[in-house]
């Protein structure tokens, strides 16, 4: 990188003149200009630093590697530096490299160029190891600079610099074009793959023809086509004394001359293939991705000469007519921002502008949001790859905006004039203005055209609909999703969602969900890319075949929000519309991505799929059906034939018959009235061998009067439960107080029956009084508890932490009531051997996963603002900590090692974000008729009764950390414990009038949900529903249902 390289006098003049002509420099004298240039350079640097400071860094994505495709076994290596001799190397410019005792060389001084001057190389594989002293240590490796030189700047301008500049997260002023793996100022790196400072990295560079591929630590970090010299020298950069970077094991293997010279050659196909006629629409109304469009046109124009793609381009909407469309196989809306009118006002938002900051270091894109509330204005400013900064002192009068941007202890004043859908102004730093320009993205103002203006006539719309429905193809890239907001058919064609926001403009990791699809099979597990990622106003996942989706961890979202936010960002998908085939990708914001072979291959294959030239699975759609609406379900169980057994809290038991679609009451068990104390009929299961002669139903309920919770088996005879057949399997004595009975039943390993039991503690444990020392002491004084240990104020020690007591546990018994000998406490003297896991408050719902032999649990926590609900997983013998620990809180200043067998949570959230009832749903594994796509396989479903959402997530290795401040008695030191964590938590659905209270997976892949209304007693609207995935070729519903909803 050439961060401090000074331009020569002519370059200085040229820069100055250019800047002056643009931004009214005519007022300045020459000296002023000279001062101005220096100041502006300083200003630009400061602004970039500020922009970097504006928020937290993105998290480095977990690298899902692509194996290097470099065959290094066919030719001889030439060692350039063997650890001893630097013979053949030449230093240009100041500084240099010195040898270390370990045989490496380290940069000092600079800026200089240290290169191997014995010979140039044409096609080759270059390998070397490097390490950096710090995350901001700057260096690079130069290839193919054509001449020997004494000018250290020559290599960067005439060859290619493979950049080394630490980790982006540790550097405040580095864009993806300047970070490790980038080709400096030419091609952004695809992903971050460098190791932490101080560790050695291994890098491979393969150059053939003009095709450059860079692999860092086995992961592809760059892949592009160059346009400079075909042959050149290899060198290293010594940047400065601050930038200590070591190199060793430098060697090169010349390759036979060859390889593609450009993308067109790279993508060249059999010319006899039937042409695919594509009409690429790049007309825009609204933000224009000019560079991206121009590059895409250039690339596809070239591809039209070497592939079967025959692409025409149009900026004229009038070309969308039946006669013209009839010439084409695929209609491709590529970055075609066509808002018609910006009719998507965000409540309270005056406007959102796509912003560009014009600094001497180049343009930087961002977003400016202006909001209004009761006549007062506020706003945010955000630049690519950084979090938004809240503006201060915002005024907005007569289309003139003023504001201050906080920068450390200082403020940078800004001003913007709104003219139509554009803004223009500057941010001032040390009396120098850095220009800003922008264009309205959405808001209450029209997007450059009068309200009601029609861009696409009804006839044109119909022509497009007819074109696609007839079996032709539709392709959409990036801003093609920022179009036609008022046109429902277009929305439906692309999957239901259109642009809502783009929170991330940065490096992202894209997870390949379907590795077998023709457009993704070349990518492996993931695609790393620097792009602008859209979030749509509706998720296309539910009616499309999603090919790739955002790895949320790559944008810093390790787990997910506990609210209804989707957190699901599909990136590319295919679907059917009528007989037509639709391919959509959100990528393509930056021009250089259209020259990136992996992305371009994705699009090219997408066009081929849309044209129907290569087969693909175009997926299906989700449908939700109500199967029983005359019940008040508390828990449900599904048998192997899809019949649903339904338990009500007040004792009724029903059976939904999958064959007839009818629901019949089959029992009324005598149990305690649940009003105010949560006792009643808690759980139901059906014997897994029900259809092999053991027609047993298992119920867990509270015996009246005794308040002994009882697990019993009943025989199903003649369409009813025979209540006289009851065989009691287990009794769990409790108290007649509210609440936390839990009572979920699930089948465990080896045919065992598992039961969750609550701590039956009072809901008043951990109330507000623990929020301050004063309130705690006042509470103890008020209740004469001064001598009582604080932790003993909690009832649940007697149950959840007590291994002689069955409450606050996951229990496991054989289905005849006996104790399995593989239970974790079997044989341990004096503790109940039915216990599988303990330390639980209210494990209302749990699930056993037969594949991993693990038990996943949702645990409801106390009603207090800083306490947690949480999810966890058990293999046997774990203590989940309650009441000594809760979610991320370690109460009573306890260290984790003071809680025997402690297992920290997979995920948790507090009351601070609303009421909560964490519940565990199925671990999804199905290849049944109605099975959901592969993306759902092996995922866990979770749901929350209070928040009404159902989510799905993956379970991955992670680290749990404690909350040191949520309680006055919290353990005050940070603890980090490696443990499985829920990650990529995404919303499956959000119920509206009901709450999910039980969830099961059916034998055909259907997901069943007990939807609950009311509280202690039944209320209208309760029902049992079913989600299914229907392939496009299947009928909407194949069995009798009460109602069905879905989008085809």
């Amino acid at each position: 990188m050439r961060r401090s390289r000074k331009p020569g006098p002519q370059a200085l003049f040229a820069k100055r003149a250019s800047f002056a002509s643009k931004f009214d420099a005519g007022k300045h004298t020459y000296m002023n200009k000279r001062f101005s240039y220096f100041s502006l350079a300083l200003l630009a640097f400061a602004l970039v630093v500020w922009a970097g400071c504006a928020g937290s860094r993105q998290a480095a994505p977990p690298v899902t590697s692509q194996a290097p495709a470099i065959d290094t076994h066919t030719n001889e290596w030439i060692t350039l530096y063997d650890g001893s001799s630097l013979q053949g190397w030449h230093q240009a410019g100041p500084g240099g490299f010195t040898q270390e005792a370990d045989g490496s060389i380290v940069a000092h001084g600079g800026m200089g160029l240290f290169y191997y001057d014995q010979r140039p190389f044409k096609d080759f594989v270059l390998e070397y190891d490097w390490k950096a002293a710090t995350d901001s240590s700057n260096s690079g490796v130069f290839v193919r600079f054509p001449e020997k030189t004494e000018d250290p700047g020559y290599a960067v301008n005439n060859g290619y610099e493979i950049q080394i500049l630490g980790r982006e997260s540790g550097n405040k002023y580095v864009t993806p074009y300047h970070t490790t793996g980038a080709i400096y100022n030419i091609q952004a790196s695809l992903r971050k793959a460098d190791k932490p400072a101080g560790q050695w990295n291994h890098e491979q560079v393969k150059v053939q023809g003009q095709h450059f591929q860079i692999y860092l630590n086995g992961v592809k970090v760059n892949d592009f086509f160059g346009d400079r010299g075909r042959e050149g020298y290899i060198g290293l950069q010594n940047h400065s004394d601050r930038d200590r970077v070591w190199f060793k094991n430098i060697r090169v293997m010349p390759l036979p001359e060859g390889g593609p010279m450009n993308l067109a050659e790279y993508f060249k196909t059999d010319q006899t293939a039937q042409p695919i006629r594509v009409l690429m629409v790049t007309a825009t109304d609204g933000f224009r991705h000019g560079a991206a469009i121009d590059t895409a046109k250039s690339v596809f124009n070239a591809l039209s000469k070497t592939t079967e793609l025959q692409v025409d381009f149009t900026e004229d909407i009038n070309d969308l007519n039946p006669q013209n469309l009839s010439k084409y196989d695929v209609l491709f809306f590529n970055n075609s921002t066509l808002r018609i009118k910006a009719d998507k006002p965000i409540p309270g938002t005056v406007g959102t502008w796509d912003l560009t900051m014009h600094s001497s270091r180049g343009d930087r894109e961002g977003t400016f949001v202006l909001k209004e509330s009761d006549g007062s204005y506020s706003g945010t400013i955000k630049f690519e790859g950084r979090d938004a900064t809240e503006l201060e002192d915002v005024t907005f009068e007569n289309d003139h905006l003023t504001f201050n941007v906080p920068f450390g202890e200082n403020k940078m004043p800004g001003k913007l004039d709104v003219v139509g859908d554009s803004v223009k102004g500057a941010i001032t730093f040390r009396n120098n203005d850095v220009p800003l320009t922008g264009i309205l993205h959405d808001g209450t103002k029209t997007a450059g055209i009068p309200e009601g203006t029609v861009l696409v006539s009804d006839a044109q719309k119909q022509a497009i609909i007819d074109f696609v429905k007839s079996g032709k193809g539709l392709a959409v890239a990036h801003a093609g999703l920022d179009a036609f907001y008022g046109w429902d058919a277009y929305r439906e064609m692309v999957g239901g969602g259109l642009f809502q926001e783009h929170p991330w403009v940065q490096h992202v990791n894209i997870i390949v969900e379907d590795k077998d699809n023709p457009s993704t099979e070349h990518l492996g597990d993931s695609l790393g890319i620097n792009d602008e990622i859209y979030v749509l106003d509706s998720n296309p996942r539910w009616n499309s075949h999603v090919l790739m989706s955002l790895d949320n961890q790559s944008v810093g979202i390790v787990q997910g929000p506990a609210d209804a936010t989707s957190n699901d960002v599909p990136i590319s998908w295919i679907r059917k519309y009528g007989n037509g085939k639709v391919f959509v990708t959100k990528l393509g914001h930056f021009a250089d991505n259209w020259k990136q072979p992996d992305f371009l291959q994705h699009v090219v294959q997408g066009l081929r799929m849309a044209a129907g030239r290569i087969p693909a699975d175009f997926g299906g759609y989700r449908v939700k059906e109500t199967i029983a609406d005359n019940v008040w379900p508390d828990d449900i169980a599904i048998d192997e034939r899809g019949n649903v057994w339904i338990a009500e809290l007040q004792g009724k038991v029903h059976r939904y018959d999958a064959a007839t679609g009818e629901t019949t009451q089959i029992a009324q068990i005598q149990t305690t009235n649940p009003v105010n104390i949560e006792h009643g009929l808690y759980g139901i299961e059906v014997d897994p061998e029900f259809y092999s002669g053991q027609q047993y139903i298992y119920l867990y309920y509270a015996e009246p009067e005794s308040f002994i919770n009882t697990l019993s088996r009943f025989e199903f005879r003649d369409g009813k439960l025979d209540m006289s057949s009851e065989k009691v399997l287990l009794r769990v004595p409790t108290l007649p107080q509210c609440c936390h009975q839990s009572g979920d039943l699930e089948w465990g390993s080896n045919g065992t029956l598992m039961l969750s039991t609550g701590d039956t503690g009072m809901s008043e444990v951990r109330p507000d009084w623990e929020n301050s020392e004063d309130s705690l002491e006042a509470f103890k004084e008020r209740h004469n508890l001064k001598d009582l240990h604080w932790s003993r104020l909690v009832d649940s020690e007697k149950s959840a932490q007590n291994l002689q007591d069955l409450r606050g546990k996951i229990l496991r018994i054989n289905k005849d009531g006996s104790i399995p000998k593989d239970n974790p406490f079997y044989g341990k003297p004096g503790v109940r051997w039915e216990i599988f896991a303990y330390g639980l408050r209210n494990p209302y719902r749990f699930k056993y996963d037969s594949v991993t032999d693990k038990v996943y649990i949702g645990i409801v926590g106390p009603d207090e603002i800083t306490t947690y609900d949480w999810y966890d997983v058990a293999e046997g013998g774990e203590n989940f900590g309650w009441p000594r620990a809760n979610g991320r809180l370690l109460y009573n200043e306890w260290k984790p090692e003071m809680i025997p067998n402690y297992k920290p949570p997979m995920w948790g959230y507090t009351y601070a974000t609303g009421g909560r009832s964490a519940s565990m749903g199925p671990i999804y594994r199905s290849d049944g008729k109605y099975a959901f796509p592969n993306a759902f396989q092996d995922k866990v479903f979770i749901y929350d009764w209070a928040r009404k959402w159902i989510k799905w997530a993956s379970v991955e290795p992670g680290v749990w950390t404690n909350d040191t401040t949520g309680s006055v008695k919290a353990y005050p030191y940070q603890v980090a414990i490696p443990t499985p964590r829920l990650k990529n938590i995404k919303t499956f659905d959000v119920l509206t009038d009901t709450s999910p209270i039980s969830m099961e997976l059916g034998p055909d892949g259907s997901l069943y949900v007990a939807e609950f209304t009311g509280f202690w007693g039944p209320a209208p609207g309760s029902k049992v529903t079913r989600y299914r995935w229907i392939d496009h070729d299947q009928p909407l519903a194949t069995e009798p249902t009460a109602s069905s909803t879905g989008t085809k």
């Binding site: 004595p733 002689q804 109940r832």
Partner: protein, 300 residues
């Protein structure tokens, strides 16, 4: 003095009890007689100090008798010839706890438990009206602590001891012995009491575990702080609910573990490793409770 000292101390205590309390406390005698302890007045109705004096001693003595019968049964189970015989021993230990006979000692058999009213020996009047309103008005099935095994008697004795501890005319020495007896008794049976609800203001049964918050890590890491009596009770349930499939050796080992747990609640624990078992929290067992009650003049 370490473990040997503890055993010596316990042995001395046993001898003293034998001499002072009478021959029916002799484990051998109790084992042979297999007679049920006689009934005594319900302390729920006799909580004044004078009435408490009439019940505490007999209850404590009966608890020892039942405990020693359980110990004998458990030792017999250690040497039983069949799994069924081991289970029968476990059933007797189970019965000593709550006075309830398990109807079915086979692995899949359901075991009875006292309902919450029996376990609490209350009519409902002790509780807050809002709490009572949820319970129904039916009285407990069992109102006599003597029909509720060691635990029922222990709870009744605890009520009596608490009343005696508040007696104005008791000497400080007597009060200390009563306090010691309470502490030791609580180690055995655990204890619960009625508290005003914290936020809902309801008077409800709550656990009073130890009231000791400077306890060692070992205490916090224990999982049996609701009373040592619950440990052999749990072990007895485990033995009855395990399908040994004829593996009598394993069943005997589990019975041996049960024996050790019974000895623990009878003898107490030298928790501080000072070579003695003191009649204090976390150390004193049932014998210590009886000894202190006798020293307080409650057992003659």
């Amino acid at each position: 003095m370490r473990r040997g000292g503890v055993r010596l101390c316990v042995s001395v205590l046993t001898i003293v009890l034998f001499c002072e309390v009478g021959g029916w406390l002799n484990p051998a005698t109790a084992q042979q007689s297999r007679r049920r302890p006689s009934s005594v007045p319900n302390p729920a109705n006799t909580t004044t100090a004078s009435k408490a004096r009439t019940v505490v001693g007999p209850y404590l003595q009966q608890m020892v008798q039942l405990g020693e019968e359980a110990l004998a049964a458990s030792r017999a189970a250690e040497n039983a010839a069949t799994v069924d015989d081991v289970k029968k021993g476990a059933a007797q230990v189970f019965e000593s706890m709550w006075g309830m006979t398990p109807a079915d000692i086979q692995a899949g058999g359901a075991l009875p438990f006292p309902g919450w009213k029996e376990a609490w020996q209350v009519t409902g009047a002790e509780f807050d009206s809002a709490f009572v309103a949820r319970l129904g008005s039916n009285p407990p099935r069992i109102t006599d602590p003597a029909k509720l095994g060691i635990e029922g008697r222990g709870r009744a004795a605890r009520i009596g001891l608490e009343a005696l501890a508040k007696e104005a005319e008791a000497s400080s020495s007597q009060q200390q012995h009563i306090t010691n007896a309470l502490a030791s008794l609580q180690d055995v049976i655990g204890w619960m009491e009625l508290w005003d609800g914290v936020t809902k203001g309801e008077r409800q049964p709550r656990v009073d575990l130890t009231r000791v918050w400077t306890s060692s890590d070992a205490f916090w890491n224990s999982t049996s702080d609701t009373g040592w009596l619950w440990e052999p009770f749990s072990q007895a349930i485990n033995i009855m609910k395990t399908d040994y499939q004829g593996d009598v050796a394993t069943a005997r080992q589990h019975a041996a573990d049960m024996t050790a747990l019974i000895e623990k609640y009878l003898n107490g624990v030298d928790a501080d490793n000072d070579g003695t078992i003191s009649p204090v929290k976390m150390e004193g067992g049932l014998y210590a409770a009886v000894q202190e009650a006798r020293a307080a003049g409650l057992i003659r």
